[in-house]
């Protein structure tokens, strides 16, 4: 296997609860999104991250608002974990002018700089080279900011991954490369596209630490993210975290998973981080059932409010096609 972490940080009770809050916010938001699409209330390509909630949640509790993330089409969970407000998010995926991108970007290109959501890309692998630039800017600023680049297992086979990790290592950039390894790249199983048993092993080729992490276990993700973020803030350079997980809803909304053995999905359910972590919090006395129900209700209210808000917003005017191409508006 890959490297083993020696000094494991553990989240305290409050932090665990905060992790769970973020996970639940992701999970509830995802549920409502799929429902809205199913009901035809929003029309948008949607890449559910159901099953991957623990990863960005356990990382984001370690990040400040001005720490940055660069994510991908399957990235709304990363944004929600970073506490991006839901109103501009929903307005955006509803194609409204009050969306965070005025309805121009949509779900695959959401950004929200105030909470550090800098880039969402639809091109496999492209979150990583850009994350390096934020890392370089942090060095120039003399800040302690870190940048997290999220990407999938399939993305670890594309050129941009390689170029970005090599540069980050040579330049000792404060970037954490987080591979959310859900075992599939669209319809292709991990081993049919990837030549190494653990993606984290590729870190050896870049002279950086690489860890294979249980992405369904918030404590394991937290411990490794903690080490990586500390290292980055200390100016020691990047880390590659491979977080193993599963995507329960197929590649894209509407995907029937025909390429997947149904037994495999069944088996994965046992490791679904949502019920497991909930139970753990209760078992460890960190929260009561009632408290968690209350949290859920609060989150659902937030999501519903965001949906209603979005529906109350205007559509962008056609003039928007001439705006934001350049700083200066393109003449009609």
């Amino acid at each position: 296997m890959t490297e083993t972490l020696t000094n494991r940080a553990s989240p305290d009770a409050a932090t665990q609860l905060d992790i769970y809050r973020r996970m639940l916010r992701i999970e509830r938001n995802d549920e409502f999104t799929r429902a809205q699409i199913r009901q035809g209330r929003i029309t948008a390509p949607y890449y559910s991250a159901r099953g991957q909630e623990a990863i960005p949640s356990s990382i984001s509790v370690l990040l400040n608002d001005d720490d940055k993330i660069c994510t991908i089409y399957r990235g709304i969970h990363d944004m929600v974990a970073k506490d991006m407000p839901l109103r501009p998010l929903w307005a955006e995926i509803s194609g409204r002018v009050d969306g965070t991108c005025k309805g121009k970007g949509g779900p695959m290109h959401l950004t929200h700089p105030e909470t550090g959501v800098m880039v969402t890309t639809g091109i496999v692998g492209s979150s990583m080279p850009i994350a390096n630039g934020f890392g370089w800017a942090a060095l120039l600023d003399g800040s302690k900011q870190v940048t997290v680049a999220y990407f999938g297992d399939g993305a670890s086979n594309i050129g941009a991954f390689h170029e970005a990790l090599n540069l980050a290592s040579v330049w000792k950039l404060p970037v954490i490369f987080v591979c959310q390894n859900n075992g599939f790249a669209e319809h292709t199983r991990y081993e049919n596209g990837t030549s190494v048993d653990f993606i984290a092993k590729r870190a050896i080729g870049y002279g950086m630490p690489g860890y294979t992490v249980d992405g369904n276990d918030p404590l394991d993700v937290y411990a490794h993210a903690h080490a990586a973020i500390e290292r980055a803030r200390a100016g020691e350079g990047p880390t590659l975290l491979e977080c193993k997980t599963f995507r329960f809803m197929g590649h894209v909304f509407g995907d029937a998973d025909a390429y997947m053995d149904p037994a495999e999905k069944e088996a994965a359910k046992e490791f679904d981080p949502m019920p497991r972590f909930r139970q753990k919090l209760i078992d460890d006395g960190i929260a009561t059932e009632a408290q968690l129900e209350e949290l859920k209700a609060k989150i659902e209210a937030e999501v519903k409010d965001a949906i209603e808000f979005a529906q109350s917003c205007e559509y962008p005017s056609d003039d928007e096609l001439r705006r934001d191409v350049f700083a200066e508006e393109i003449p009609a």
């Binding site: 029309t43 948008a44 390509p45 955006e92 194609g95 409204r96 991108c101 309805g103 121009k104 970007g105 949509g106 779900p107 695959m108 290109h109 890309t121 639809g122 091109i123 496999v124 692998g125 399939g154 993305a155 086979n157 594309i158 050129g159 941009a160 790249a185 669209e186 319809h187 292709t188 049919n192 596209g193 990837t194 590649h251 025909a258 390429y259 559509y315 962008p316 056609d318 928007e320 096609l321 001439r322 191409v325 393109i330």
Partner: protein
């Protein structure tokens, strides 16, 4: 709907199929007839569902996993492997899932596939087909719907084909696969999904030849791909307004059928080019520039062009609709031209 004046249909027996089925049929036929034909790309084999939308379904089961290979997500590796195999005597059909992803394989396409014959003084040949899909209309936004055919038309050594009908798909694929040079076939949005009457035994359609879809006398409209649907709608409206449009389905964008376009433009005296790609420095510019020169003094109106505005493809449906050339814009532009001369 179509009076094909370029080549006779291969048969009169017709069947309803859509573009996806036509491509699949062409690949089946080509692979069966020629053991050198290969297919590669992300998810193309049946283990992966025969393509994300199923275009290559059944091929790997029939022809084996060595001839039909799913790949990692690595477009440089895909085109590179296709180039090597092509130089090694095979005829690979390589899929780049969406046209925006050609951006990560541009070196392989432009510096290698398109140039190796020339740079080697004819020692090498690269009989490669690159399949790719694109087109706005499904709210896939800025990085999944661009038409960049102008880039490849500007690149010497690669042919560029954009089919419209399922018959186009079948016939142009059959020709492209047997062409001794690299051909990029751009599958344009809904052309894959709209069922149309198609000759059962549709044979090869020659590359570089346009199709006169409908004859007319007032204005020539040249288009291709899914914009042909838009144009056909507009033309019906124009007919009601008493304007007779000659419609050309360009089929091959490079090398384009100058003869057919010039003959038609000279006849009608007016030319309008409609494409989904950006108007600015777009493919229509070359056609307009060529025609204004060849027919200087013979046109009744300047050559008109319609294409996408100068911005990325927007997400919101409302903006996407505004971004795309719609039938009323074609009607208005055609009327404007017809008001002149």
């Amino acid at each position: 709907m179509s009076t094909d004046t370029v080549e006779p249909a291969a048969t009169t027996e017709m069947v309803k199929m859509n573009g996806m089925q036509a491509i699949n049929a062409a690949l089946m036929e080509a692979m069966e007839a020629d053991p050198k034909v290969l297919v590669l790309g992300e998810d193309v084999a049946d283990r992966e569902g025969g393509g994300v939308i199923g275009v290559t379904r059944g091929l790997s089961t029939k022809f084996g996993d060595l001839r039909v290979r799913s790949t990692p997500i690595a477009e440089q590796a895909i085109i590179g492997a296709a180039i090597g195999a092509a130089m090694g005597g095979y005829k690979p059909v390589a899929e780049i899932m969406l046209m925006n992803f050609t951006t990560v394989a541009m070196d392989m396409i432009v510096n290698h596939a398109a140039k190796l014959r020339f740079m080697s003084g004819g020692q090498s040949q690269v009989p490669l087909v690159i399949r790719t899909l694109t087109g706005a209309g499904n709210q896939t936004a800025g990085q999944h719907a661009d038409f960049y055919e102008a880039w490849f038309c500007h690149t010497a050594g690669i042919k560029v084909v954009i089919p419209w009908t399922p018959a186009d798909f079948k016939g142009l694929y059959l020709s492209a696969i047997q062409d001794p040079d690299p051909v990029m076939i751009i599958e344009s949005g809904k052309t894959l999904f709209v069922p149309m009457d198609t000759p059962v035994n549709q044979g090869p359609i020659p590359l570089g030849k346009a199709q006169v879809v409908q004859e007319g006398s007032d204005v020539t409209i040249v288009s291709y791909g899914q914009m042909m649907f838009t144009v056909m709608q507009a033309v019906a409206e124009l007919a009601e307004a008493g304007i007779s449009a000659e419609v050309i389905n360009l089929r091959t964008i490079s090398p384009w059928d100058k003869e057919a376009v010039l003959a038609s433009a000279e006849k009608t005296g007016r030319l309008l080019i409609v494409h989904e790609a950006g108007k600015n420095f777009g493919p229509g510019a070359e056609i307009a520039a060529t025609v204004q020169e060849a027919l200087f003094g013979k046109l009744k109106a300047p050559v008109g062009r319609l294409g996408a505005p100068y911005c990325a493809v927007p997400f919101a449906k409302k903006l996407e609709d505004a971004y795309l050339v719609q039938p009323p814009a074609v009607v208005a532009e055609a009327k404007k031209l017809c008001a002149q001369g």
